[in-house]
Subunit: 263 residues, 2 copies
């Protein structure tokens, strides 16, 4: 009997999933204050109605292929994805040195970082396909720090996910503003984060009674989701296929939980 | 076209899942040396053929309702589940004090603990429905320590999962014998495990290049899977519904990965 009831639903789900995959994407100009920014919007053109919106925040090199690829993957899963631009239209560091300086500027000026990420979040919300009650933000490295700052700014976002992001906060008391559930996905061999950073982060979120989870992937270095990062963890930045697959699955399970009242 | 190909597979899967659920269970006597042990076997009577086997190891009170419930749940998922008995048939501590002493005896004598858990594993393998190439072991509290010892003993088990288990090892070099992938699910408010224990555990597994993952659930205390533990984390031992649900889902995703070549 149970099988008979389940079947039609499952068949519909299979058809819906397979009928999707008409992912469209476009560059979208928007502003924060007087600064022109250029993000990347991806969505499934075949889907109908409102759906959850997921903001994607790039790593220290600026809006890059990895952020765009993740937006496309999220659109393929049925979400509206908007890869935000924190640095500004056309502002792209030439090398790691310049990237470190630029990311450092925003990590030092958290008010500006919050303004930039919130501008992207607002732009995403303005999309007519986005269900404003079901939103998330994910970020990579510098973008991980950035989505934590989005949460710390008090924005009504259902969940944030940091992939190998920096966890430090100059204003730990701001955690009491966090409305989001927080998922941190980290490489255990990422030596950019020190045990003291983890301890401070855990204390920050525990003191504010935030709903948080932290996953550590053994052997994975910083950059573990980035295929362009090479395969040598001793460089401090390397791709790790197992951690990439597992962290993406962890994010999907997290989304299933936070968006569970229909999507 | 893709939908047409996918549909029959998905319908078969739905039927198979729904047709299951004829979970049978029975007490099973077995031995380690001269000691008589009594475990609890659960399996789906309606399923055909061999399937992965999952050993379940109880917490410090001995083979209890939680371990049996988990075995039933695993059987409902299509696995053969065997809840092992580490202490011996009829040996059940009367209270926490006695439980602490009994668990302590085995935590001190790791050779005996390994012999006991391996006896349960062998008994499970002897079941004609178990695919010996696809096995896992999960354990709660004391049982978490125990399944880690199963892995450290060099047994060919595909994966082990510790739920709020003790991580310490008196013989860290034995980690080089580990063949299993390791998943540790832990409450961040579990004050039985100290930061130094985590650091030692991570070093032990990293030095031996073990495939490991650690998940920390914010706010969750020791015993977070045990509904009988009450709801006050300040007692050191409390149920946490979110961490229970999430950790079970993490275990299922882990099993999907380690058993992925058909089950």
């Amino acid at each position: 009997m149970r099988a008979m009831k389940l079947m039609p639903l499952i068949v519909v789900a299979a058809l819906a999933t397979a009928a999707h995959a008409k992912v469209r994407s476009q560059l979208v100009e928007y502003k924060q204050g007087d600064t022109v920014l250029e993000g990347y919007l991806a969505y499934d053109d075949a889907a109908k109605g409102k759906r959850p919106g997921v903001l994607v925040v790039h790593a220290w090199m600026g809006l890059d292929d990895n952020a765009k690829k993740r937006a496309d993957m999220l659109a393929g899963l049925g979400y509206v994805a908007f890869a935000a631009d924190i640095y500004g239209k056309g502002v792209r560091p030439k090398d790691r040195d310049e990237a470190g300086k630029l990311a450092g500027k925003y990590k030092t000026d958290r008010a500006l970082l919050r303004a930039r990420v919130n501008a992207g979040f607002e732009k995403m919300l303005a999309d007519p396909h986005v269900d404003a009650a079901k939103t998330a933000a994910i970020g990579y490295c510098f973008g991980g720090t950035t989505v934590l700052e989005l949460a710390r700014s008090g924005t009504a976002v259902s969940g944030v996910v940091s992939f190998h992001g920096g966890l430090d906060s100059p204003a730990p008391a701001d955690a009491k503003q966090i409305k989001a559930k927080v998922l941190v996905l980290h490489g255990a061999a990422d030596f950019y984060e020190k045990p003291a950073d983890f301890a401070a982060f855990q204390k920050e979120l525990a003191d504010a009674k935030v709903d948080w989870q932290l996953v550590e992937y053994g052997g994975a270095a910083h950059c573990f989701t980035d295929k362009g990062a090479g395969n040598d963890p001793s460089t401090g930045c390397a791709y790790d296929a197992a951690a990439d697959t597992r962290s993406w699955a962890a994010m999907r399970a997290f989304f299933d939980e936070i968006f569970k009242n229909g999507k």
